[in-house]
């Protein structure tokens, strides 16, 4: 069943988890595929930065007068769940495909939230837009690496 009651707190927790899980995913990839280690570690680091930036922005701008309980009404977080479980036998190409899928969902999530959070404060929308942009660039890089 779609969970249609989504408060700002839930959105931020979801975003935090999304970035943390992505960070762990890329760290795992870095260990499994030593040839692409540096690139994957850079992606992991980027996820960490997104996580810190989103949580910090929310905490620095949230106010009791904002519509935090109502701005994301109808948003279904299940649409943006990512799969970070890597198959034991996964090839580099397979892992890259999985990463591209994950990035596509993350971009969609960050863009949707950026749009929906415009009724809060501009800084929150901007933080999500920035996260969407970094994810979009990463997706393009991953796609270019696919054989």
């Amino acid at each position: 069943m779609a969970d249609t009651v989504v408060t700002a707190s839930r959105v931020i927790s979801f975003a935090e988890a999304l970035e943390s899980r992505s960070e762990a995913f890329y760290t795992d990839l870095a260990e499994r595929f030593p040839d692409a280690r540096e690139r994957f570690l850079a992606f992991a680091e980027d996820c960490g930065k997104n996580r810190v930036s989103l949580v910090r922005t929310y905490r620095e701008t949230v106010s009791d007068a904002l519509e935090t309980g109502f701005s994301f009404q109808g948003l279904d977080l299940a649409d943006y769940e990512i799969d970070t479980t890597l198959d034991e036998e996964a090839t580099l190409n397979g892992a890259l495909r999985q990463a591209v899928e994950m990035e596509a969902k993350a971009v969609a999530f960050h863009q949707t939230v950026a749009e929906r959070s415009r009724s809060l404060l501009a800084t929150i929308a901007m933080a999500f837009r920035r996260a969407a942009r970094s994810r979009k660039r990463r997706k393009q890089t991953l796609e270019s690496l696919l054989e």
Binding site: S13, D64, L66, F70
Partner: protein, 502 residues
């Protein structure tokens, strides 16, 4: 359902903080109960007047040295306090939810608002500066300096247990005064935690004291000859008939921010969807226990035909009721919750009394908050759902009196002037909002309405820390307000020096 971890695991034994020490009180103890779970999370002392006097003495004794500390050094204490509050941001927010009942988003918002006051007070070297004018007469210069006064008493309410103490204390301390603060004994934990952090930030013993208690402590504060001024936030009868009168009699300056009955006026050109979203937070956020909450929704006909007005009216009401019906109630630490319980079952009973009165007076109960569902297995004692009344007239008690709960009264107005007349006929003057696409109507509203805080397409007209928290009529007694530059002026005396050297 995802419930955040509770920061309070055992029942806390709350103490007074006097002269840099945590001291037990000889008075009785009261339970502090989490209104969502019904569990006792702390016990707080009902201190004696003697214990209050001891705190005032400590503050008085600390004052001469503290005022000599350079403003820059006092500002650094504020910077350190700000950093400590940031480090403890999440814990402080969750404590608010546990002791008050509000949702975690609301608590974090309150924490932010409180911290912003500490940030503003950290600018005290600039804010406290005086003025200087040379040659007011031949060889004579004149200048103004702002000096701290001594000890200030602060009495804070239950509805914002973290933020309201910070509307005042940081400014008082940064300007070189000392404070004795009495938090609401219903939810005293945040103020206790703040003073613990103030100590860690380097605020010396005696400068920032916290004494828990009830009416005896308040009364002793009002009469104490060593207290120069009082900051009070609470009900109008106490603010007007007790605080203002007693401070007048004893020559104290005072800020008394009191009750409210706020109107939201919706014009035909308003964006209904965004207006309703804004109204949900305003009418039902903090479970309606907010002096800036809107309580009366006035839907204006203005230049619409009768038929068009009926359609517009119904569109607004339908959207409002649909949104209110969809609100989820439960424990504020559950991130899916939009509205928490009232502070305690007694407060719920009072609000239910108003719902019954509204029915008796002939209003139509469109949405009955007494019939509600809660997420989770929680006692229902303090919960109450969003309520909507239609066919309300300005003379009814539900439209006139402060309910302080999740009850919306919908009224009709012929035009903006009619709506403004309704606002002016009400004794309160804390806040009012207009929802419109017309700059001209918004300007008229802002210009004419006698309320201290005006919202234009904003449901909660809450001033930021660098603006005064205003209020008029029965919502405010005093001259200067809390927050920002006005707070700096309240906590200092303007001394003028006229100087000539032979």
């Amino acid at each position: 359902m995802s419930i955040l971890e509770e920061p309070i695991k055992d029942v806390l034994n709350v103490k007074n903080y006097v002269d840099g020490d945590w001291v037990d009180s000889g008075g009785e103890r009261k339970d502090v109960v989490n209104p969502a779970t019904g569990k006792t999370i702390a016990t707080v002392p009902v201190s004696t007047t003697k214990e209050l006097s001891r705190a005032v003495e400590a503050a008085r004794d600390a004052f001469p040295l503290w005022r000599e500390v350079p403003p820059l050094a006092r500002a650094r204490c504020m910077f350190r306090l700000k950093e400590l509050l940031e480090e403890n941001f999440e814990e402080l927010s969750r404590i608010q939810t546990m002791e008050h009942g509000k949702t975690i988003d609301e608590s974090r918002g309150e924490t932010r608002r409180g911290i912003e006051n500490v940030e503003v007070a950290a600018g005290i070297p600039s804010l406290m500066m005086g003025d200087y004018l040379e040659d007011i007469a031949a060889g004579i210069d004149e200048y103004l300096i702002r000096q701290p006064l001594g000890v200030f008493g602060m009495i804070t309410p239950f509805n914002f247990p973290f933020m309201i103490g910070l509307w005042f204390a940081p400014y008082a301390v940064a300007t070189g005064n000392c404070v004795v603060l009495k938090p609401s004994s219903e939810d005293p934990l945040c103020q206790t935690k703040i003073v613990e952090l103030a100590e860690e930030a380097g605020v010396p013993p005696g400068v920032w004291n916290v004494v828990h208690g009830g009416l005896d402590v308040v009364s002793a504060m009002l009469d104490h000859p060593d207290i120069e001024g009082i900051c009070f936030v609470g009900s109008t009868p106490v603010g007007r008939d007790v605080v203002a009168k007693r401070c007048g009699a004893t020559g104290k300056r005072y800020i008394a921010q009191c009750g409210a009955k706020n109107f939201a006026v919706v014009m035909p050109d308003a964006d209904i969807e965004r207006t309703v979203a804004s109204c949900m937070t305003s009418f039902y956020g903090n479970t309606g226990q907010r002096c800036l909450a809107n309580a009366n929704l006035v839907i204006c006909q203005q230049d619409l035909s009768d038929e068009a007005y009926e359609t517009f009216y119904q569109d607004v009401v339908d959207a409002f009721v649909a949104a209110a019906e969809g609100i989820t109630l439960g424990y504020g630490l559950d991130e899916s919750i939009q509205v928490g319980p009232l502070r305690d079952p007694g407060k719920k009973e009072r609000v239910v009394g108003y719902i019954e009165r509204g029915i008796e007076e002939g209003a139509t109960l469109t949405l009955d908050g007494r019939d509600f569902e809660i997420v989770g297995d929680l006692p229902r004692d303090a919960f109450l759902g969003p309520t909507v009344f239609e066919d309300v007239t300005p003379d009814m008690a539900i439209a006139r009196e402060e309910i302080f709960g999740p009850v919306a009264s919908i009224l009709k107005a012929r035009d903006l002037d009619d709506a403004i007349s309704m606002i002016h006929a009400n004794p309160f003057g804390n806040a009012a909002s207009i929802f419109t696409d017309s700059g001209s109507l918004a300007r008229d509203f802002r210009y004419q309405v006698r309320c201290g805080n005006i919202g234009v397409n904003v449901g909660i007209a809450a001033p930021m820390a660098f603006f005064p928290f205003s209020g008029m009529k029965d919502s405010f007694f005093g001259t200067l307000h809390g927050q920002g530059q006005e707070a700096v002026r309240f906590f200092t005396e303007s001394k003028v020096v006229i100087e000539r050297w032979f």
